[in-house]
Symmetry: C2
Subunit: 338 residues, 2 copies
């Protein structure tokens, strides 16, 4: 009997602050560690010199253009048709790959997936589901939308809640995920116009527990926190900045001479204890609502970050995430139509 | 020659999770440490048993009602006319006190100040200016609006920027404060509808440097960060939660047996190094845009928090903050009319 075919993950070799070196290094590690094949998409002349002699499991898909971090996403995706991220999305659309992973311009990665995959029926706009680490707790929390769609309508937040609840089952391994609406107070009446309208609509969504506050993010509270892409992006970066600031303070205390050699050991131990919090280890964010698996890794992704993102892509394919999300939305529509 | 009269600060004795005990204790400390008199506002039967025999500098203003933390702010202020926070605001309006301090229901404190003081001419809505600590840097940053006004119009953000810039001179001691607009990216085109409109209007405000991101909050970046009250409230609580989560992780590492007795000394040293970050030490937030000094302290204020908030109230009076803010807005209007 032949072994089952390994899933192929299309990887944007040109995307990210440390591309193509770290991306290609991540691809090499991924094919060894993860039982996947990798389709590296980008300029062959940039990629091929970085590949080892035996690059079994890795193939290269040529793309002559690159969308830079500062390019305006939607117009770049339209004008740069031979860009690595657009070609990666097309590889998935055309069945040459099962999923795509990109660490470049987030907006462009999202736009490429949206335009080439199309939307799941019943989903108005996509949303990014970022797994937030919860310090000290061996678990994660999904923040949705972390930046895909600003100025959403209230009903879109309901769609994202339904998608995120189903995705939380796969990603977090939680049977019955709880959902909170990020607001400026826990009481039901709190919020701006968008939140007040969304609160009423979310009341009918299974698992919805009400409003949560900023202090419930990255904390042991609900499994899924739903918000608009503007607030979600601000909150995500606020968490990173606040933790970075406090970590700097802790390390500056440990740099004081009186702690001696123990300080170095403590630093290492703290970095180990906090390794879950590092963006490289989150495994990337799934773009919810499109008809294909698109994993967004952070801009400064190292090879390790790429391996983790490819793992999430592989697991999403294995769990048939897109079909599950499609069913979750369809069932909800049947329910509301009935 | 008579000594100059000490300023009188009206203090809501009934407001806050730890009222009236910690509030009254704070008042007793404040009159000793700060060269102010305190007008304690609330139920005399709750306050007087807590006062020492010699309570020189403290007087009590009776108010029979209390607005609770969960009361709906605007309607509570309208219906509870003999509540401590409403009476405190009236004491300032009527010249019996120079400023008010409240640690109770934030919305009610704000509403009482707004309704009894009125708005500064040219200011559509008030905003809360919270001084964020910047870990490791001996400085603070103003976050405006931290929760007073959700769903603002873009031009209100400009008014808050003007007010906050002037206030930053007093509170932060910075001659030429820089201002950033909180957005989901640094580039000029980033943001939701509100941000895009505000960005254009802010271009004419002195000190405006462009968009900043969540990662610039509580970090050495601009002096003033402007946002709507919804996002500001979420960001403020997100910072607190993220730092709390990471602090818990650091302390759990220090609780591991291998660090021995040094761990306890390190914990103390870290708490000392981080003391600036504790809400009790921020000194409270000024309500910008009303015709009187109203300082909002956090809900779980201790006596030390009250002393710090009273100090900020005293300094705001001494610096004639309301007049300065009034002039800042008026000059800007002249400029734009010219």
């Amino acid at each position: 009997m032949e072994p089952p075919a390994r899933p192929v993950i299309a990887l944007d070799a040109m995307g990210g602050d440390r591309a193509p070196q770290e991306i290609v290094a991540g691809a090499v590690r991924a094919v060894h560690e993860l039982d996947v094949d990798i389709l590296l998409v980008g300029r062959p002349s940039d990629i091929e010199p970085l590949l080892p002699d035996d690059a079994a499991g890795i193939s290269v898909l040529g793309a002559s253009e690159v969308i830079a971090m500062h390019d305006e996403p939607a117009s770049a995706v339209r004008s740069k048709r031979d860009s690595s991220i657009v070609r990666a999305a097309e590889a998935v659309r055309d069945g040459k790959a099962s999923a795509m992973v990109g660490a470049g311009n987030t907006g462009a990665t999202m736009a490429a997936a949206l335009l080439r995959f199309g939307r799941i029926s019943g989903v108005a706009r996509p949303a990014i589901a970022v797994p937030l680490p919860v310090p000290g707790a061996n678990r994660r929390q999904l923040l949705v939308d972390a930046g895909a769609t600003v100025d959403p309508e209230a009903v879109w937040l309901v769609q994202w809640a339904l998608l995120a609840r189903e995705y939380a089952r796969v990603r977090l391994g939680v049977d019955d995920p709880s959902i909170g609406l990020l607001s400026n107070g826990e009481e039901a009446g709190k919020g701006d116009r968008l939140r007040k309208e969304a609160f009423g609509l979310l009341a009918g969504v299974k698992g919805f527990t009400g409003n949560v506050e900023g202090g419930d993010l990255a904390r042991p509270s609900v499994d899924v926190i739903v918000t608009d892409g503007f607030t979600g992006n601000v909150a995500l970066k606020t968490i990173e900045g606040a933790m970075l600031g406090l970590a700097g303070l802790v390390f500056s205390v440990l740099d004081e001479p009186e702690w001696g050699e123990m300080a170095d050991r403590l630093k290492l131990r703290m970095l180990e204890a906090a390794s879950d919090l590092l963006p490289d280890n989150t495994g990337g964010a799934l773009l919810l609502g499109v008809k294909g698996v698109c994993i967004i890794s952070h801009g400064s992704s190292s090879a390790a970050a790429i391996v983790n993102a490819v793992r999430v892509a592989r697991d999403s394919v294995a769990a048939d995430v897109v079909a599950r999300l499609t069913t979750a939305i369809a069932e909800s529509e049947t329910l509301h139509a009935g």
